[in-house]
């Protein structure tokens, strides 16, 4: 009767920001990113990609609650970068990796299919 709509799990409510950015007021070069209607899928790949960046001192993510459909990513960098810069770079690198993966996969499937005929 009062069950929430199923789509609430993946549709960002009107007036809510998809990504909220908040600077840490106590630590230099640290910030929190709150991604609405995302989960481990995005949280974990972002974290792992951020770990590849040597200017990132800390990168972690959490799902605060299973019924609150948001993921929180915390980043701290050294003075060579900023959390925002590191975050943007991680997204860009992951996108490029996926482009490469897609091209490689298509090439391999075409080759495999050519073998059949």
């Amino acid at each position: 009767m009062n069950a929430p709509d199923r789509y609430e799990r993946f549709v960002v409510p009107e007036g809510m920001k998809k990504v909220a950015y908040e600077r840490d007021m106590k630590v230099m070069n640290a910030a929190t990113f709150t991604l609405q209607r995302e989960d481990h899928t995005i949280g974990n790949i972002l974290r792992m990609q951020l770990h590849r960046d040597p200017s990132v001192l800390f990168a972690g993510y959490k799902l605060p609650h299973p019924l609150q459909y948001r993921v929180v990513v915390k980043i701290q960098t050294n003075s060579q970068s900023s959390p925002m810069q590191a975050y943007n770079l991680a997204i860009t690198d992951l996108t490029k990796e996926l482009d490469h993966l897609k091209a490689t996969f298509e090439q391999e499937t075409n080759q495999k299919q050519a073998e059949y005929y």
Binding site: Y7, E38, T41, M84, Q85, L94, F105, E108
Partner: protein, 324 residues
């Protein structure tokens, strides 16, 4: 600063590719990417499924909602699902979910008149669009030379006895597995780490033939074998290893620790993708890549957030400069 990149270049080797099954090796990336793609194939690659059923008459033994649920679970050919609109944000019908851009209509009308029990199957569903029909696993497999079967019987919905009738209208819509499992194109999607097995040959040679065989037999899966000619223990199928550590425990118990060392390669994955038939397995993987890309794009920071932070940075620098 703009030219720094920590991008990886994954490689792929395809082992087996059929319409409904795909097996491949993914290398030079990490578990987070492998797992993200697996999760998306299961929960976020869209397909079509029956979402609304209007029953005109039903005198079968199954009640209306039971039938509606069964209809929802029938896989529907969804090659066009990626381009279709979700009813929720279809502006042609204002979210009503009944227009040609976001829905497909099916009709079913069956009456049993004979003495024999009549099977109502997915083949009785008549589509408004000839390219969007229920998946017929048997038919598709026969086309591919899968299994030899001429009886394409479809998927059983309900059985009718003499005099019973079923008449309904069903609307199929686009959706994702996160919403309801009926929209998931995945039968199973799994990946495993590739094991790396090193036998300490010197230590192995201190074992008698019987001991070797005993050690080999301690593995619940057939990973090792005794070479009949050289009488040496060889790895026949590293992937059969299930990380059960039985052979390590056995070596320990035999007083030969370090007889074998087994690692899992952290950047190498063996994927198995099985489709319900709604989308080809290989297309499922490609769609998952596309969806992950658009998800990443959606979490990019908006320009005004970046701008506001720049201003804050200047203010911060000003304040720090102004102190003491």
């Amino acid at each position: 600063m703009d030219n720094v990149s920590y991008q990886r270049f994954p490689t792929v080797r395809i082992r087996d590719i059929k319409d409904d099954v795909l097996k491949f090796e993914l290398r030079d990336t990490d578990a987070s990417i492998a797992n993200a793609l697996r999760r998306i194939m299961i929960a976020e690659v869209p397909t079509l499924a029956i979402d609304l059923v209007e029953i005109e008459s039903n005198s079968s033994v199954l009640n209306d909602e039971f039938l509606a649920h069964r209809l929802g679970l029938i896989p529907i050919v969804s090659d066009r699902a990626m381009e279709m609109r979700l009813s929720r944000d279809c502006d042609a019908c204002d979210g009503d979910g009944r227009c040609e851009y976001c829905s497909i209509e099916f009709h079913l009308s069956v009456k049993c008149t004979g003495d024999q029990t009549l099977d109502v199957t997915s083949l009785d569903l008549v589509s408004s669009d000839p390219s969007i029909i229920p998946v017929d696993a048997a038919g598709r497999a026969a086309d591919m030379g899968g299994f030899e079967s001429n009886d394409t019987r479809g998927i059983l919905i309900v059985k009718l006895r003499k005099g019973q009738e079923l008449k309904l209208r069903a609307i199929a819509r686009k959706g994702i597995g996160k919403d309801h499992a009926k929209w998931s194109p995945a039968a199973t999607v799994t990946f495993q780490y590739e094991p790396e097995i090193h036998i300490n040959e010197a230590l192995m040679e201190t074992l008698t033939l019987e001991e070797k065989q005993e050690w080999i037999d301690s593995s619940p899966t057939k990973v090792f074998e005794l070479d009949p000619v050289s009488q040496q223990v060889v790895v026949v199928d590293p992937e059969a290893y299930t990380y059960d550590e039985e052979v390590l425990k056995k070596a320990e118990a035999m007083g030969k620790p370090g007889l074998v060392e087994i690692y899992s390669k952290e950047d190498s994955f063996i994927f198995t993708v099985e489709s319900t038939g709604a989308i080809k397995a290989s297309q499922m993987f490609l769609n998952a890549i596309e969806i992950l890309k658009s998800k990443l794009d959606a979490v990019r920071l908006s320009f005004d957030t970046e701008e506001a932070d720049d201003q804050f940075g200047e203010l911060g620098a000003h304040m720090r400069g102004g102190g003491i």
